[in-house]
């Protein structure tokens, strides 16, 4: 029995899973109806659904961030700003430049949405060139878009919020209506599943996952044995940008508008946190997509929990900080060593006594 327990605790995914479970259990303790899911107005309701729904953006960002971190041993801090930029770009295209609110679209909705996602990809490509070709540190390279993104977004929206009062635009962020049938599952959840599935398949079925790890661990050696390190790094950043684009469009669709100042705010921090909580090292190399997804929902669960407990959004960060530091500290190798050392000492003492 003991050996089984040891084996479970030593697996890489144990801690992320455990943390998520802990947060959920705390919720359950506070409100027994936490896990209850009900159907109302033809759609699913419930705290759990809420977490899955609102955590979609973070999960999508976490997927891209995991790859960027793994391959370049650094963090992409522009994802939040790219979200904002994509949202603004889409809304500007759909509404026309300078228009504050519209009910008529200037171009087919799908084209506008795809354009927004591609804008994210373009930003990712910009970051990718800086990191792969010019060998600039990821945090510095992405700092540029971090600062410039919202500013450009503001300019695109002419310094105001842009409202798209067009029914179908809301589908992406809320619920799909196909004819008479309303899909019970919130669309963002479906989008997340799609994104995760696509990326996971690409990573598993092709050798991209292996290359990402190899390049992340040792870029020079990877080049010498035939891997095009620059290309792999570039691809990962483009994926991160595309993910940010998707997340941005989803976020915009939720509020059927573009809010340059608030969309994506602090999301880059949440995405990096998700990656870390998932047990991935910020110094790159081996990675676990599953871990990051679990981390993303853990963070959303924390966010939701705090709201439910009545903590105001301004003050919530304090508790979030404490929780995050605790989780990260427990995962730190230094702590694990100290813990193991304590265990060994106790065992040695027990042996001496017996």
């Amino acid at each position: 029995m003991r050996k089984l327990l040891e084996k479970i605790t030593k697996t890489k995914l144990f801690l992320p899973f455990f943390c998520l479970l802990l947060v959920l259990l705390i919720n359950l303790f506070k409100s027994p109806s936490f896990f209850r899911v009900s159907v109302s107005n033809g759609v699913l309701y419930g705290r759990i659904i809420d977490i899955l729904n609102r955590g979609s953006e973070i999960a999508i960002l976490a997927v891209g961030q995991t790859l960027a971190v793994a391959v370049s041993c650094g963090t992409d801090i522009s994802v939040g700003s790219v979200m904002s930029l994509s949202a603004c770009f889409t809304c500007m295209l759909l509404a026309g430049f300078g228009v504050h609110s519209t009910t008529v679209l200037q171009m087919p909705m799908l084209i506008g949405i795809v354009a927004g996602i591609l804008m994210g990809g373009l930003c990712g490509a910009f970051n990718g060139v800086l990191v792969s070709k010019l060998k600039i540190q990821p945090m510095i390279a992405t700092l540029i878009l971090f600062v410039a993104g919202p500013a450009i977004g503001l300019l695109l929206c002419n310094n105001q919020m842009v409202y798209i009062r067009y029914d179908q635009y809301k589908y992406l962020g809320n619920f799909l209506n196909i004819g008479d049938w309303k899909c019970p599952i919130p669309t963002p959840i479906l989008v997340t599943v799609l994104v995760v599935a696509v990326i996971a398949i690409i990573l598993r079925k092709t050798s991209l996952g292996l290359y990402v790890q190899s390049v992340g661990i040792n870029r020079r050696a990877s080049r010498l044995l035939g891997i095009n390190s620059d290309k792999i790094v570039f691809i990962c950043y483009v994926i991160a940008g595309l993910c940010a684009g998707v997340a941005g469009v989803v976020a915009s669709s939720r509020i059927y508008s573009a809010d340059p100042n608030n969309i994506g705010l602090h999301f880059e921090l949440d995405s990096i946190l998700a990656v870390t909580l998932g047990g991935n090292s910020l110094s790159g190399g081996k990675f676990s997509l599953t871990g990051s997804i679990i981390g993303a929902y853990t963070i959303q669960a924390i966010n939701t929990t705090l709201l439910a407990m009545g903590v105001s959004t301004d003050q919530a960060p304090v508790i979030k900080a404490v929780i995050v530091i605790t989780i990260v500290a427990i995962q730190a190798p230094v702590f694990k060593q100290w813990w193991a050392g304590m265990k060994n000492r106790r065992q040695a003492e027990a042996k001496e006594l017996s």
Partner: protein
């Protein structure tokens, strides 16, 4: 052997920064001559308005030398401001409040430094948690803006509003016929003292050189007997104390505390340090360069403001573009340096004996 000044790439970068500042300022003087840009006071205003940022940047340089980063500074400054404001309004002793703020800064830095240095957790994550914590605490103290008036604390008010005038002969007559003598305020003196003190520390103390060593090669520094953990811890404590000093300066400027204050200050500080020639990879940096980095950012903001027609987003974009320029320049220099180093590897050693 006489010590020659080496014209290596690091010196060139700083020279470019300084030159850029002078060019920008000169352009401003020319274009906006009618709006009084050319006055000495404009330059002094840049110093006055950015005195808080100057202190923060001096500290940030130290932290970045160790290959670390601190993104909690903006939040810390806001928290200090709020503390000071509420304390003053309640009528507490001015000196005591200032000391309290410094103490809190020290404790803040100590906790962050412990997690970064002894638990070996990534600086970005730890200081992000610190940022969350400080922002939240600011809201916990008060969600509404708190203003300091003369009635609350005459001493502080007096200090904040003191004008330190330059000699009378430097005065100019404005269009109303009155003589305006250039002046600065106490925060500027404090900030300049901080910058000077950090400069001396980095150049002439064991601790300062230790910072360079740790950033250059942490493993080697440890092997050579330096207490790397302690040095890093001290760097973060110093950073937070100096940020608190910056917070005091900031408070003297704004005479209020609010939750929205100093948002984005950390990114401005990082941008200024990068523009000033400090490498995020550590081991290379100069506080004088960072000083000019702040001046450049201040000049850009002033230029945009003086124009009046441009949105303030443009100054963000300009800062981002400038940062992009310097980052790419640094990257190019390091590529060149690597190429010359590999050439030197094959060079023969010059022998003088045997």
């Amino acid at each position: 052997m006489k010590r020659k000044h080496r014209m290596n790439s690091n010196t060139i970068l700083i020279l470019i920064t300084v030159l850029l500042f002078f060019i920008m300022y000169f352009i401003g003087c020319v274009i906006y001559a009618n709006k009084g840009f050319g006055n000495f006071q404009t330059f002094l205003n840049i110093l006055i308005n950015n005195s808080g940022l100057l202190c923060v940047v001096a500290g940030m340089t130290c932290v970045m030398l160790t290959a670390g980063i601190d993104i909690s500074v903006g939040a810390l400054v806001a928290m200090d401001c709020m503390l000071l404001a509420t304390g003053m309004v309640k009528g507490n002793n001015c000196i005591l409040m200032l000391l309290l703020v410094l103490l809190i800064g020290a404790v803040f830095g100590l906790v962050q430094g412990f997690f970064i240095s002894y638990m070996n957790i990534q600086p970005f994550i730890v200081t992000m948690a610190g940022m969350f914590f400080a922002r939240g605490m600011t809201a916990v103290i008060s969600t509404k803006q708190v203003s300091i008036t003369e009635a609350n604390n005459a001493l502080f008010y007096q200090w904040a509003n003191t004008k330190i005038n330059f000699p009378a002969f430097m005065g100019i007559v404005n269009n109303k016929g009155a003589t305006m003598v250039p002046f600065i305020r106490p925060p500027v003196i404090i900030a300049l003292l901080c910058v000077f003190a950090i400069f001396i520390m980095l150049r002439y103390t064991k601790f300062g050189r230790g910072l360079y060593a740790v950033g250059g090669n942490e493993e080697s520094a440890r092997m050579m007997g330096l207490n790397v953990k302690m040095i890093k811890l001290k760097a973060y404590v110093l950073m937070s104390i100096i940020s608190s000093i910056g917070g005091i300066c900031y408070c003297m400027n704004t005479m209020s505390g609010s939750v929205q204050q100093a948002t984005g200050m950390e990114m401005q500080a990082i941008a200024a340090t990068v523009i000033g020639g400090t490498l995020l990879t550590g081991g290379v940096g100069n506080v004088l360069g960072s000083f000019f980095g702040v001046l450049i950012i201040g000049t850009i903001t002033t230029l945009v403001q003086t124009n009046g027609k441009l949105l303030s987003s443009w100054s963000n974009i300009a800062v981002a573009a400038l940062m992009c320029f310097f980052i790419i320049l640094q990257a190019l220099f390091s590529v060149i340096r690597e190429k010359t180093a590999s050439k030197r590897k094959n060079a023969r050693v010059l022998w003088s004996g045997k």
